[in-house]
Symmetry: none
Subunit: 259 residues, 2 copies
């Protein structure tokens, strides 16, 4: 996943209101605003709102850290207060690292992602508040929210940096909606081998193993043959790989020998 | 979640081998090594291995970026090659941003987390490879792994920075923590082979294949070697099976020949 080159085609961007807004409350460092928008765009989020940032979000350090996601910075809405930032939203979530003494539902990022998906499908607009780098959201900020998001993290070391916190929530949101393909095995264009082809391979291998003496202990032969067949059967060989294995057996057996 | 202050109590640390190792292959920047260990420790991971890092992992920039997780940097294992870094591991995953032409299972971070939890419960040691900042893992690096991890991300902007990639995988591992299914792996009493044992097998096989002439077409050799390794890596060989394969290669090659 690391690395700058993706060969995949561009996807249609997420329509406004179809994804949650990210609200940074009093962010300090330009560089962090840049890494935040990179994490947002990684997960298809483009609606950024900045409440009283200290540095400029268009500072060269922010642009550099955005690594190609600077369009999100350029489109950000600048406001004075978190109240203004969330005025048009129906449902607001506050991210916190430590438990607050407030009567509010506490959701994991995964639960929040499902909740946000459901509400957006019902036509609601949602947003997520993230606090400043050092102190996090104040109790007054958190009080603005309908629910709290708290990530399952090592309780002895639970503090994420700002972009990491945005990534965890945004990643869960994206993952909750992605048509995630089931785990699969790409086969490089070669079709899976048939069982007939596998049997041919086993017959070839076992003939040569009999012949060279590997299977000479007769009372062990049945279990050895079974174990060898098991090994190759569970691999899920392609037709091309079966041909490669035929070649390996043949050449090991009959190829040139050093004198 | 953002903010440096966590008021929760310290938790018992994860015992060695109970969590996957993080292997950074040729990382460049000290600062990134620092942000990586912070993300690791956020998710309870402490086993870091560095294969030929460019900067020192104890550079002041790394320590500063670790934000309190520098113990993970100090305990890191420094090695020359990814092969050394994974020699003691049973199951290795490679993270990639773009699709490779290799016959390997592709898992989401969530699927990989479940797989790692299950394998660790069975006593296997697992590790995850992350490539250098700009280029990512090479095809040869990826060929060392049993499976590929690819995160569901905006296909138009899928490149995560190094610490973000580590965070997504580590976070899924931590979040999967609760209910681990009971250990079950029918292996006929033989333990899974380590990657060191697999590499020995590959070296043996390739030496004999060079020698008998099977790999004589030099410009095809790298891809053939990769395909052969892939085939055996994804099988999940036991230590007993690796010994059987050594025997097969030796006897096919040097056993008796009909006149």
């Amino acid at each position: 996943m690391a690395g700058t080159d993706s060969t995949r085609a561009a996807a249609p961007t997420v329509a406004s209101g179809q994804a949650p807004a990210v609200v940074l409350v009093r962010p300090q460092l330009a560089e962090n605003m840049g890494t935040v928008v990179r994490a947002m765009l990684n997960c298809g989020l483009t609606d950024l709102r900045l409440a009283s940032p200290r540095d400029s979000h268009l500072d060269p350090k922010a642009i550099a850290a955005a690594s190609g996601a600077e369009s999100v910075l350029e489109a950000a809405r600048l406001v004075e207060t978190p109240e203004e930032a969330i005025a048009d939203l129906h449902r607001v979530y506050a991210t916190t690292a430590r438990r607050r003494e407030m009567v509010k539902p506490i959701l994991t990022p995964r639960e929040a992602a499902a909740d946000i998906r459901k509400r957006i499908a019902q036509g609601e607009r949602c947003g997520i508040l993230f606090g400043p780098e050092r102190a996090g959201l104040t109790n007054d900020d958190v009080a603005l929210a309908d629910a709290i998001i708290e990530a399952p993290l090592n309780p002895a070391f639970a503090s994420l940096n700002l972009a990491q916190a945005v990534l965890v929530v945004a990643y869960e949101w994206f993952a909750a909606g992605a048509d995630v393909p089931p785990a699969h095995l790409p086969t490089n264009g070669s079709r899976p081998a048939t069982h007939g082809e596998l049997l041919n391979l086993f017959t070839h291998l076992e003939r040569e193993l009999d012949d060279c003496g590997f299977l000479r202990v007769l009372d062990k032969r049945p279990s050895m043959v079974r174990n060898i067949r098991n090994m190759f059967e569970r691999t899920g060989l392609t037709e091309q790989e079966v041909r490669t294995l035929h070649g390996i057996v043949k050449e090991l057996r009959w190829g040139r020998r050093r004198e």
